[in-house]
Symmetry: C2
Subunit: 411 residues, 2 copies
Amino acid sequence: MIHTNVLSDLKNRTAQSQKALKIGLFGFGCVGQGIFELLEQSKGINAEIIKIGVKNQDKVRSGVGGFKSVQPLLTYNAAEILYNPEIDVVIELIDDAEAAYEMVTTAMREGKAVISANKKLIANHLEELLALQKEFDVPFLYEASVCGSIPIIRNLEEYYNTDFLSSVETICNGTTNYILTKTAMEGLTYNQALKQAKDLGFAESDPTLDVQGFDAKFKLIILVLHAFGVILKPKKVLNYGIHNLNIADTIFATENGFKIKSLAKAYKVGEELVAYVAPHFVGSSHEFYNVNNEFNAVQVAAQFAEKQTFIGKGAGSHPTASAVLSDLAALRYGYQYEYKNIGQELTYNPKLIHKVYFRYRNPSDLMGLNFLNITEHHQGHELSFIIGEISLENLIEVNLNEREGVFLSFF
Amino acid sequence: MIHTNVLSDLKNRTAQSQKALKIGLFGFGCVGQGIFELLEQSKGINAEIIKIGVKNQDKVRSGVGGFKSVQPLLTYNAAEILYNPEIDVVIELIDDAEAAYEMVTTAMREGKAVISANKKLIANHLEELLALQKEFDVPFLYEASVCGSIPIIRNLEEYYNTDFLSSVETICNGTTNYILTKTAMEGLTYNQALKQAKDLGFAESDPTLDVQGFDAKFKLIILVLHAFGVILKPKKVLNYGIHNLNIADTIFATENGFKIKSLAKAYKVGEELVAYVAPHFVGSSHEFYNVNNEFNAVQVAAQFAEKQTFIGKGAGSHPTASAVLSDLAALRYGYQYEYKNIGQELTYNPKLIHKVYFRYRNPSDLMGLNFLNITEHHQGHELSFIIGEISLENLIEVNLNEREGVFLSFF
């Protein structure tokens, strides 16, 4: 039996530590409770929650039901977690991105591994978070931040690093997709569908981040880092929402054989990278045509693997908890993201020209929009629209999300 | 900054070896050539093919085109690879499962890491291959053996080990799916579609393993090991093929709103495991309804992640090469499958009763089949069929693949 040097090197992996990982958890909403529950049930992960940081202890106490063992773990003093020498891993699951930023960065500086699901925090601070991981040599994992239970970040990191990626395309906002499904398939108005989404807990009381495409943009920016190694500033990337969709747009789509889906897309054009979030007309042969309601999907195209589609639940307590737990399991074998694609010679190009449908009320709605190659201009009593080409940069400049009474969809 | 013990342990990972992995490759068909090409292009993997074992050097010489550098690497003496102390990794990509078995097991005994795409070899020798990995502490990776470029084995190993899986369902034979797509969507007969698949290179000259469900069964057995930790013997698992499909069956499916898809399924029923390969009637709301032609798909259901669907190219030189390359990249950080689910208290149960459609010609075709709860029995000049329930065990006993003039599909 011959052991060559390289292979012997490969085998010298540190045996997994047998001691339980000690966890400090921030936030005890649905996801936090799901994680607590699953860790109690699962024999697979040797990890234990020893502190739970909450803003309002009374609120949690009333909600925990079977979690009798939770009460002694609660604290509302973040320092009891962040500066606790017993705690190895901080799991951050709170809504407030600014407070989360403090927790995550402090925990990393304290040498703790951190797991977060907070896409806004991550997308807004990519450079700093990369630097902290390097400086303090701590793992920072956030699979749950993009498409919930769909294991897309880990797959981009580990599986596609050998292949040449050309595009990533995703339905990554469950609220938006739910509303679009209801408007297309049940004929609801935007407001009716939004109300239904709120009633079912799919939409927050202020849905701006979701319906105007900000949430999807944060997720796209995280995907772009792992897929293409490029750090995009949120302000430089177009996000156009669905909040001005009306029945006429839905009918236009249906009559032309399309569904409207909000897509976040990034792809290479030569040595340039394009990225944007916008409603798109999607035909029945597209893999996303039947991705309905709160489901999410990601499609990756690569030179060798060709097109890969992942479909799953993108939000909700259990799918999100599942993604957090998989990060925790990965920590047990010392896993860290390697960001292997950083250093590619790719330049971000926001000047791409794209074919769009633009519905409007009167000529003043067109102010500042520079359409090129208009192929159809319909002006009617009921409906006026232009089909033509326009640059992403132009759409960012006019801040289209704030313009009422108009709606735009990409072809 | 505090470094606790557990986290410090986790961080003590061996740095990746900087030396190039030396590869011995068996087989230089489409996949092998794809790998050679991609390794030359990719800066991501520090690995080099130093020997290529082929059966017929002349055949390769004529086909290599641009691969001038290939000629000096060729050998038809397997020992030059298997006993070569310079070689760290053996990649086995030959058709012959018996010869592949010799190569794979010898390489492992010689302390080499092995990558294989040979599902037949793997499914038939699971226990021995597990034992060899343990005894010689060598990685044996085979992502390319199941669903080509879809990263399903690695995801089952790494991502779902924290979750409680309940089922795995897959379209994993591209030849079969191509034929079924053409019969359903273009009205071709089975034989016309098979001929087309052969002409396009999707089917082999002897398609038995594919169209009778053996290939899918081998893949299912590999998935079951990683998903549920159970080792199934191929003989004990039902595989019923599509080779006796006729137009009447296709029309029956279409009229009832279904497509016929060959599915390989495994799922838990309490503490028991069920597994089988058979044609199924699939409705338009099923995620696999639009998985057409040579595409593959896998759906995993888990307690927390809920349903996850992966769709991609299951065969072909580039998708398969992509999966092999990702295994090679994983070897660089010492990756080995951990088979974490082995040891679950799951018993294989082949006695499950399933609702089926059974089309036949005359009463003697029913010999040995014990239908329960017959809900429809149609006897006609053109078409006779039974809709009723039957046990998997009964279908295995009568060896239905060998019975001509009949066709069965699961609901």
